[in-house]
Amino acid sequence: MNIIDKLEQSLLRKDLPKIGPGDTVKVHVKVREGEKERIQIFQGTVIGIKGGGMRASFTVRKIASGVGVERIFPLNSPIVDKLEVLRHNKVRRAKLYFLRAKLGKAGRLKEIRQDA
């Protein structure tokens, strides 16, 4: 393994759970307001994971008061305080960009249950 790979490996965050496309997640984001820092929660569906290693980022989509909102987070960023996976959904592709065109009930995903 070369030195840059090793360096990146040491900088990766290992405390976050593994996420995949379709997962419903709760992202705890650190927000700075002047001197104060607080936590904001962004909850939605992961519609894609881009890149790998230190450059990886993921897009979370949610519907906020009838308007679709997407936010892209760098996966290893310190601004992500905590990441919770609420449920895994059944999806057949890596990028769920088709969800943008689906409104209301059509945009639902089917859950994969781990029990049984």
């Binding site: 030195i3 840059i4 230190m54 960023s77």
Partner: protein, 208 residues
């Protein structure tokens, strides 16, 4: 001693700063280096130290001349040598090590290296000329255009920008910020790009 070291460019990556922002960095294997020779005004006409980049394979591939030079000074053979000017009163002597520990994060440094060679390049690539249009019967594409008048001055002014060798010259990028110093692995993470290819040697200097 002046703050300077020889490094080997390893490549680029990105890290996060305290604000959580992404910072592009160049990773440089900086040393360990060793002082090989002390030049003095009496003997050499100026004061400097000659510093060598310590080889990973112990100078196995050093030439006879390089080995002889190092042996005379009582250090292990080194293949990459650079000079740093110092004050006459400086106490540096051959065998002293030069390490990344002299640097700290947030300070500005100058980085010199040999830029990537682009060969013989035309004026569009070399000097950012606009060229002509590609289609619609245009017969003027990448040529430089006029380089001066024919009756007066009846010559081409020196320094006229034309095609020629591009790159493969020494380039210094000034005031780059050190993002991080890794003492354990002798690494310097410098914000932004530095001249040269991966594996190229660079000199990092901190102005006093």
């Amino acid at each position: 001693m002046i703050k300077g070291i020889i490094g080997k460019k390893l490549g680029m990556t990105q890290i996060f700063n305290e604000q959580g922002q992404v910072v592009p960095v160049t990773v440089i294997q900086a040393g360990p280096c060793v002082v090989v020779q002390r030049k003095t005004t009496e003997k050499d006409g100026y004061d400097a130290i000659q510093v060598g980049f310590v080889d990973a394979n112990g100078g196995k591939r050093a030439s006879k001349a390089e080995k002889g030079h190092a042996e005379k000074k009582g250090v292990a053979p080194v293949r990459v040598l650079r000079e740093f000017k110092i004050e006459a009163a400086d106490a540096a002597k051959p065998g002293d090590s030069v390490l990344v520990s002299q640097f700290e994060a947030k300070v500005k440094v100058h980085v010199s290296g040999t830029s990537k060679g682009k060969g013989f390049a035309g004026v569009m690539k070399r000097h950012n000329f606009k060229g002509g249009r590609a289609t619609h019967g245009s017969m003027f594409h990448r040529a430089p255009g006029s380089i001066g008048g024919s009756s007066y001055p009846s010559r081409v002014f020196p320094g006229m920008r034309m095609g020629g060798q591009m790159g493969n010259v020494q380039v210094t990028v000034r005031n780059l910020e050190i993002a991080k110093v890794d003492l354990e692995n002798n690494l310097l993470l410098i914000k932004g790009a530095v001249p040269g290819p991966k594996g190229g040697y660079v000199v990092i200097k901190q102005e006093a």
